[in-house]
Amino acid sequence: MFIRSLQFRTELVIYVLLDILPFFVLFFVWQAAFSGKTEINSFTLPQITQYYFLVMIIERVTSTYFENWRATEIREGKIDYFLTRPFSYINDVFSKDVGGKLVSLAISLPGLAVAFFLISLVLPVAPLSVAPHQIFIFIFFMITGYLIQFMIALWIVLLTFWFEGSSGLEHFKWISVSLFSGAMIPTTFMPTWIQSVYQFLPLKYIFAVPITYLQGTLSLTPGMFLELAIALLCMFGITRVFWHYALYQYSSAGG
């Protein structure tokens, strides 16, 4: 069932390169910003490099790539197969994306490891010293982060039932996740209005929270886990309602 992802094996190499390229660009921008200073907003340059490296890992694990083809599938009426059988379409979207992701991770992780090694040779990266339980919690956040990204992507797909061109929202999703999750710039560097949106939204649990936790600049509280749990539950509920109403709009084109 993972043929689709296997077909893109060659593209994966390109994806890894695409991950690394911006990394270097970002580094030089930051290096310029740091000229003459050792610390900005309590980040040192090696810590910033480390930050972006963790962003790169999380990005690899949590991002989704199904919006476009799933939206096309719905628009072209190709989901009859699922709707007439005792098998959930959303389960299919989920299991194929997870399956594809595991395959692509297995293929690209060695590449990432090599990339990290090379980067650490040329750029100053602060070494990470983490306890096993921290890695465990980091992985936990990657899983919940994936669920958050998955559900947002799914909402975009479900909007296709009403608006044909909804997969264009993919870019909107990308921008808002980048801005409000800390993936683009550590949030302490952001203007205050973005910081307040950031505090309000659960997107921070995808990038900023786990990264700063691993870097040792954030200590987790039970309240954070509660907030994350509530956010996931709400998103799950919204997805259910969304799907329920989307089906009324289905036109099963063709035939």
Binding site: I3, G77, D80, Y81, L83, T84, R85, P86, F87, L247, Y248, Y250, S251, S252, G254, G255
Partner: protein
């Protein structure tokens, strides 16, 4: 008291809103806040009951609303009005127990996984429908043998011919032994031999499992051979529901006799035998088409054969569309 119907619909309607978009970028922008639309009444108040074990021919011209009706009966489309009942369920609720008892096959819409061999879809269906191993193996073996597709089911579906794919579609739909079957143009685009194979197969399935079947087709032979009862719809409305033979007797009074001669014949001689519809004599080919009363068709053919230098003759039913047109002009309001 007669058995309750397996399929029952009352005043079923489906109206589509079709948005009209002006061309170009400006049109797209305008359509964001002001969308003009037209209402297409695809199905407009159809009612019928179908009893267990019946094979009903559901016929009508292109765009009459056949596929739309079947999609509502399958729970794919939400009716604008009227909730159908199939096997005592409302299809829209998509209960697993309902879905395990029916199948929808669309000749024009592929339901097998395009990139995989058909046999992979069969196994996926086995998992989805929770078919016990034994039943699965037995049914698969039987269906594969009946349709003679041993070699085909291991080839990627997109590499199959239309006829080969249709056979696999049917197998995929029947593995869970559905009690109700919706067949939407299962024989479309197939050659005469393949059509016959599928017809025999559908008939055998109906006999063996007592399955209730709704069949749509544009081929008179399909409907005539399989269905005692026919429902004719036009522009979303039912215009006939009854014995197929009745409409054939009433509206298809003629059969079509196509003739090819080895030597020239005269129009006049032919006209004595029936209504001469076509006649061509280009000096080397001599052909003619006669419309002959249904009951006399074979007798007339015999006479023509003995009187004229005939090299080829075929006797055909008039096309379904011609009959529908007749029915429509007489019974439709």
């Amino acid at each position: 008291m007669s058995k309750p119907p397996i399929i029952s619909i009352t005043n079923l309607k489906k109206h589509f809103k079709v948005y009209k978009k002006k061309p170009g970028l400006w049109g797209s922008i305008q359509s964001l806040w002001h969308r003009e639309y037209e209402v297409v009444k695809a199905v407009d108040g159809i009612s019928f009951d179908i009893a267990e074990g019946e094979i009903v021919g559901f016929i009508g011209m292109n765009g009459a609303g056949k596929t739309t009706t079947l999609k509502m009966l399958s729970g794919l489309l939400y009716p604008t009005e009227g909730q159908p009942s199939v096997l005592g369920y409302n299809p829209w609720e998509r209960k697993a127990s309902f879905q395990k008892q029916f199948a929808l096959v669309m000749g024009q819409k592929n339901q097998l996984w395009w990139d995989l061999p058909a046999v992979e879809t069969f196994y996926l269906n086995k998992a989805i429908y929770e078919i016990p191993d034994e039943q699965f193996e037995k049914t698969l073996k039987k269906l594969v043998k009946l349709l003679d597709v041993e070699d085909i089911i291991r080839i990627q579906v997109r590499k199959l011919s239309l006829g080969q794919r249709m056979k696999c579609e049917l197998i995929a739909a029947l593995l869970h032994n559905p009690k109700v079957l919706f067949l939407d143009e299962p024989t479309i685009g197939l050659d005469v031999v393949m059509q016959k194979t599928l017809r025999d197969f559908i008939k055998a399935y109906n006999k063996e499992f007592g399955a209730t079947i709704i069949l749509t087709s544009h081929y008179m032979d399909d409907v005539k051979e399989l269905c005692e009862r026919a429902i004719i719809i036009d522009h979303g409305k039912k215009i006939f529901d009854g014995k197929l033979q009745d409409i054939i007797d009433k509206y298809a009074r003629n059969k079509k006799l196509s003739l090819v001669f080895s030597e020239p014949v005269t129009k006049k001689d032919l006209q004595a035998f029936g209504d001469l519809k076509e006649f061509s004599d280009d000096g080397s080919h001599y052909t003619a088409t006669l419309l002959v009363a249904r009951k006399k068709a074979t007798a007339v053919a015999a006479q023509v054969l003995s009187k004229f230098p005939v090299v080829d003759v075929t006797i055909e039913e008039p096309p379904i569309e011609a009959i529908i047109r007749e029915v429509f002009s007489k019974e439709g309001s």
